[in-house]
Symmetry: C2
Subunit: 679 residues, 2 copies
């Protein structure tokens, strides 16, 4: 591994996103999601299941205060098992108890992280004030020893870290840390960062390779990458070492989780019996360096792999990098939907076996694609190869954006590639698939995760090494970068994802700036202008450009975006004989609204010329694609019989109208389909 080649995300404050498309998404998050989420965290959304998140912090804080006031005489509450999700028996009269999922604290942490990113792009003193107050509430709950997880503070500290497999303390710690670092970097305020460090120190005292320390590791990963972030923010090596311990320890024999008492198994015994692969579920079935297939809970998996990639880069660990590379290939070559969705089965919200990518029962959780983006950027940091960025772009514009309604008010957890509303209602096997987005979830992982990702999109669009600015995603931005002590200013304008023209203006006189521009895999024909006098070299899918910069350089890239048909590997049984319509980074789909019901009877005419049309969905402009094709007749059936002597189905010529996949389900409940018969 060549550390000189490493590159890192650009600090958010070095980039100003000016892009119409992404600015729109970020404004939705700022004006809709963040305020809504704050209300949700405080149980003030009418009709929605209460989150109890801030309430739990307040109760923990109150208990803390009482403890301090009572001094030594105070007795710690003894641990009572409250189930994986605790709901009040009498919602009218809440007691001073913990309510909600065991990981409810993380809702705050994701919110504060989204707030932090948003503040970097759009300063908002009132929002910052609300955030500061929330941070005070959270910090008030922190114990003298640094511990900070309200489930155990309220239910009894005596069982702290007794159920790492299910009880998400290290997961909540990870999110808290990510939020704390982000808020610190955005505002310079270190109150929450300090709390995260104290909690991290407590954990580093408890876990580790030293004799007498606990040999466990997180049941739900994220602490691995969060600790790296904390290390990078504070420079304290013990956080890096703790992350490495968690990663190295994972999956070693005897299995740590086997040594725990699991109340959850007693609560739901069937799960325990059936779940023979429960350590695959947690990616703890093998030491991480021996893992070569992406398995188990998809979100957990990509969070782990992201932490592994972080460590591989920072510790120049070739064997860890090799494992990351194998796991990456396992995902993108065998287990990823064309939308960038991952996790083909709702059972365990998990990866299925290679090439098992059913469209109608897909899980493809929004959070899993977000995690895939985390993983992709970290792989890019080690090695800027467009392979990673191509997948990152695919996930961003398709599966991830599909997670949020165009008005920012409702969300998908599950992102299927084919939906028949009747089937979702009547077929229990598809009960996890929704045909319309939901307002909020009891388990609110996807909306706040989406909020923090979208608000920080520029840190995925760009990475930098000492002299090079890597452009992975094209979006309107203004970027400042110091190269050999000289300030370079790069201004990018583009109408991505609808138009492939990109203009890059550079003011970098005297700077040794190098630009590395991704050549997207979907583009077969890219024209450039303004490269006169420059050294331009294409490598690993990037066009590297060096020149004697003036203050008035303008480069132009024209990435051709014609509508295209994509086929799937023949091993993907579900997609045989079918094609997906794409244009640029956008995957398209058919909706019943535009094409009538029974989309399975539609066939693309592969010889026909598609037409591009300017359109809109719910007022949001988009490029639509009209692809000529056929529609099999349903009326010819003999007396409605179920079976008949085979005959070639009568077909009528139709114009199939495709809309961007991420825009589906914004016009009411209806059928949707990504993969369409093609002949």
């Amino acid at each position: 591994m060549d550390s000189a080649r490493f590159n890192r995300e650009l600090p958010l404050r070095s980039v100003r996103v000016t892009d119409a498309f992404w600015k729109g998404e970020m404004e939705l998050v700022r004006t809709e999601v963040i305020p809504y989420q704050w209300k949700a965290l405080n149980d003030r959304v009418e009709g929605a299941a209460p989150s109890y998140c801030m309430r739990n912090f307040k109760i923990a804080g109150k208990m803390n205060r009482e403890k301090r006031e009572k001094g030594e005489a105070y007795e710690e509450p003894q641990y009572t098992f409250r189930g994986f999700e605790a709901t009040p028996e009498d919602p009218e009269h809440l007691k001073d108890e913990f309510y909600g999922f065991v990981f409810q604290d993380s809702d705050f942490s994701k919110w504060i992280e989204a707030v932090a990113y948003s503040l970097t792009q759009h300063p908002d003193p009132e929002l910052e004030r609300v955030a500061d107050e929330a941070i005070e509430l959270v910090c008030a709950a922190q114990q003298e020893d640094g511990y900070l997880d309200t489930y155990y503070i309220i239910n009894g500290r005596d069982k702290t870290f007794s159920n790492l497999r299910d009880h998400h303390e290290l997961y909540c710690f990870g999110h808290l840390t990510e939020g704390a670092v982000a808020y610190y970097q955005a505002t310079g305020k270190d109150r929450l960062l300090h709390a995260a460090c104290r909690f991290a120190d407590y954990i580093a005292d408890y876990f580790g390779p030293e004799e007498g320390k606990c040999k466990g590791y997180p049941g739900h990963e994220i602490a691995e990458m969060a600790l790296v972030r904390l290390y990078e923010a504070t420079g304290k090596e013990r956080y890096l070492n703790l992350s490495r311990f968690f990663v190295d320890q994972r999956g070693t024999r005897p299995y740590y989780f086997d040594t725990e008492r699991h109340e959850y198994d007693r609560e739901r015994p069937q799960r325990q019996q059936k779940d023979g692969l429960r350590y695959e579920y947690n990616q703890a079935h093998l030491p991480v360096r021996e893992q070569d297939e992406a398995v188990g809970h998809a979100v957990r998996a990509v969070y782990l792999y992201s932490g592994m990639a972080d460590l591989a880069r920072l510790t120049q660990d070739d064997s860890l990098y090799a494992a990351c590379e194998k796991l990456w290939n396992s995902i993108v070559n065998e287990k990823m939907y064309v939308t960038g969705g991952i996790g083909a089965t709702h059972l365990g919200e998990a990866f299925s076996y290679p090439y098992d990518l059913p469209n109608d029962t897909a899980y493809a959780e929004t959070c899993a694609s977000i995690g895939l983006i985390f993983f992709a950027r970290r792989m890019l940091e080690i090695h800027p190869d467009a392979r990673y960025a191509n997948v990152m772009e695919r996930a961003f514009y398709n599966c991830v954006l599909a997670g949020m309604a165009l008005d920012g008010k409702s969300f998908f957890y599950v992102n299927p590639l084919e939906v028949v509303p009747e089937a979702c209602r009547k077929d229990e096997r598809k009960a996890h698939v929704k045909a319309v987005r939901q307002k909020w979830f009891g388990c609110a992982c996807c909306p706040p995760n989406l909020a923090r990702l979208v608000s920080s999109v520029s840190s995925y669009a760009y990475t930098e090494s000492e002299d090079t600015l890597f452009v992975h995603l094209y979006m309107g931005s203004e970027i400042a970068k110091l190269v050999n002590g000289k300030r370079a200013e790069i201004s990018i304008t583009s109408a991505f994802p609808w138009d492939g023209a990109v203009t890059i203006r550079v003011r970098a006189k005297g700077s040794a700036l190098r630009l590395a521009l991704r050549m997207p895999d979907w583009c077969e024909d890219c024209q450039t202008e303004g490269l006169e006098g420059a050294q331009a070299e294409e490598k690993d899918g990037y066009l590297y450009i060096q020149k004697e910069w003036t203050d008035e350089d303008t480069l132009q890239m024209f990435f051709q975006m014609q509508p295209r048909l994509i086929g799937a590997n023949a091993k993907v049984r579900e997609d045989v004989g079918k094609a997906a319509v794409v244009r640029g980074p956008i995957v398209y789909c058919l909706e019943e609204r535009d094409n009538g019901a029974d989309l399975h009877l539609a066939t693309l005419d592969v010889e026909a010329e598609p037409k591009l049309a300017d359109g809109e969905i719910c007022g949001v402009p988009a490029k639509l694609i009209i692809w000529p094709g056929f529609r099999k007749s349903k009326t010819e059936e003999e007396n409605g019989a179920l079976y008949h002597t085979w005959h070639r189905a009568k077909k009528e010529r139709v114009e199939l109208k495709f809309i961007p996949y991420y825009m589906w389900a914004n016009r009411g409940e209806n059928e949707m389909q990504v993969w369409t018969n093609a002949e």
Copy 2:
């Protein structure tokens, strides 16, 4: 309803089956299944889960004896809830307790019924002696008051009939009655019949419309048709009335099941919560005359509908017949696989919504198709329309026969139309689908059900009215029938299902015999010979033949059996663009063994001429079909990438080799597919 047109099954003893095909199946049942099953009932099969069935009868009998010996002082055991399935904690030291499923008694009843049918075709004094002894054991368990269900005899009579929804007492009674009537009719021995009558009397005293009597009805239907059979065997109207009460009472408000305490719900609370449609599961969501869609547990459904058809015929109940007709049409027009399989979802082993017929997750339980055959014959008895017989034949030769291995030694419960072994192992959603038949089941409903059906196949092949012999299925047989006091002898020879030639010899001089020969729906061209001088009229799919019979009449029918392609209704999403190969009554399939793996890449050339070949599977002769087609290439994928720019797949010409569906999975684990791409 025109009662003069009714017809009834021919007494088994009036028919001697000489057919090579069916005789073979019956011999398998006689020589393999019945002896194996007897061992299983007595827990003497090594490696198989014990049945405990005969053991439970013995313990109940012992308790009975002790009770009699102790006289009044004896205390009835108080009911203890033993769960839906009770397994000994220590298998080495069984206690005097009930073990097995709550419906374990019915295993004996199905066995004795199969034995009875077998004895009519193949007298076997040794088998009859074993059966008589078994009957003694069963009768010894019967209580003084006539009650006879070992679960409650052993666990406590105080809770008798307290959980009709789940606890199968009336189901066990139904099977006992069916077995008792069959054994009586086969051997003339009335020991078991008498026991069944005593139990029936007890039930008729307990349930009924009269004030003070229980208003419940069976949770798992079968008593309805069993009581009709008992009525027909004994002439006692109270059994007919009880059947009618059960049918009329079903689904009325308030729901009877709501009044019961259900221990099962406490045992498995999740089921109760999720199962909002649990009365659909039992076909008790609506009064039966208001039911117009086949819903819920498929076996229960067709058992109920069979009882309804029995009652409609016997009581000339037009509204009940109308309901039967609607439910029949719901099944065959919207919910039946091309194999005659029913029950598209394993969730509740149930019918799915109309046209939802997934091939790879099908349930299509063997027992459900058996029940569909029961229903079909009863509809034929009301109205001899080939619509019913066509479905009956489809179920017999395909889904039902597929339930048993060619050597009679292993069985399918679930009969999918598409199997990829890897998916069955790795995809929990397909965990119910097995790629190879199993030796025996803890819940042993299908193998003994198959045994009793196959042993009595002739009672489905033929029904009679006063002057008419209806031939529904073609098979070699010798039939005797009295018409206007004169004996008519009909001898049929055929090589069905492999050859369409049928020879019918009639010795019926002076008799007013009328023959009604089914014209199968799969036959487009039927030639006849020997009809000179006869009146022949086709009606409702039957060719009615009357003539002045001599003692040397010979009729010949030639049903053309060319290989054909079948298409499914366009509403069946799973089968769009696909075809099934059939010939005569046989549905064919592809197996990996003959065609290599990845059957989803095969395409039928619809223009090509298929070839018929004489072959064999595991030594059993069969007609195989070679259908030219194509196979898409897998090797062309660009670097094994998951997605690529669409291009027409390279195809090579292949000869696709189809074998009869019912013969699949006899040559080891491999892929199988009924519906194949066609172009």
